[in-house]
Symmetry: C2
Subunit: 135 residues, 2 copies
């Protein structure tokens, strides 16, 4: 039985070693899991990005969001060039161990378009509407 499957029946407060959990994370065939960044204060969902094991470990070790850039094929310390970093407040795994949720303090806009978050395109009947201006 996988560690995540075993934890389904665990009670509040039960713990497991972080290393064992990291070993059990279900990375996909590219070695990645999706990571959701949510603003710890406003609860706004900021973005979805990807992490490999190294990015996950760097995020936990450094206390700031580090993703894996699929286009650049390299670790991507969010804010390294833009200054729009994400300080890590909490990191959570889901029941299946194949998704990550980060609660963060976002500096500046989260989106590369300089909008506060990446989810600015809203379905409105048979149209899709832009809900925020680029900065």
């Amino acid at each position: 039985m996988s560690l995540f499957h075993e934890l389904e029946d665990a009670a509040t407060g039960d713990t497991r070693p972080l290393g064992a959990v990291l070993d059990a994370v279900k990375f996909d065939d590219r070695g990645l899991v999706p990571a959701i960044a949510q603003d710890a204060t406003t609860q706004e969902v900021l973005m979805l990005a990807w992490m490999n094991r190294e990015a996950l470990a760097a995020t936990l070790a450094e206390g700031r969001a580090c993703y894996y850039s699929r286009s650049r094929r390299a670790l991507w310390r969010k804010g390294e060039t833009s200054g729009h970093a994400q300080r890590l407040r909490e990191l959570r795994f889901d029941c299946d161990g194949d998704a990550v949720l980060l609660l963060v303090d976002q500096t500046g806009p989260a989106c590369h378009t300089n909008r506060p978050n990446c989810f600015y395109l809203r379905v409105d009947g048979d149209r899709v509407r832009v809900t925020a201006d680029p900065a």
Copy 2:
């Protein structure tokens, strides 16, 4: 230039036809995009699941979350067997068109373990802690 790339510079209120946006969504090599479900009232991130084009269209047409189950290789109308359905309040695409955010009214627990949401495993130093009891 892709539709999503073009929309990066669009102003608030600009719209495009839904069909054109759906045609531009960047499904992965399995034909899927990750979909985040967030409680429209509490703003709690409930779960992350996957949608193919058919699931996305069904969600919009039916006004309730319909995902694609990778294990069953079939459409999965959330709540169909559990009763724990998600009524769709809003559907958003991200800047790159490769992730979806659903704002939903969740009936009952979102997680298959009967916890309110799937992200109940929190990193706490060098341990991972269970933060909610199974129902």
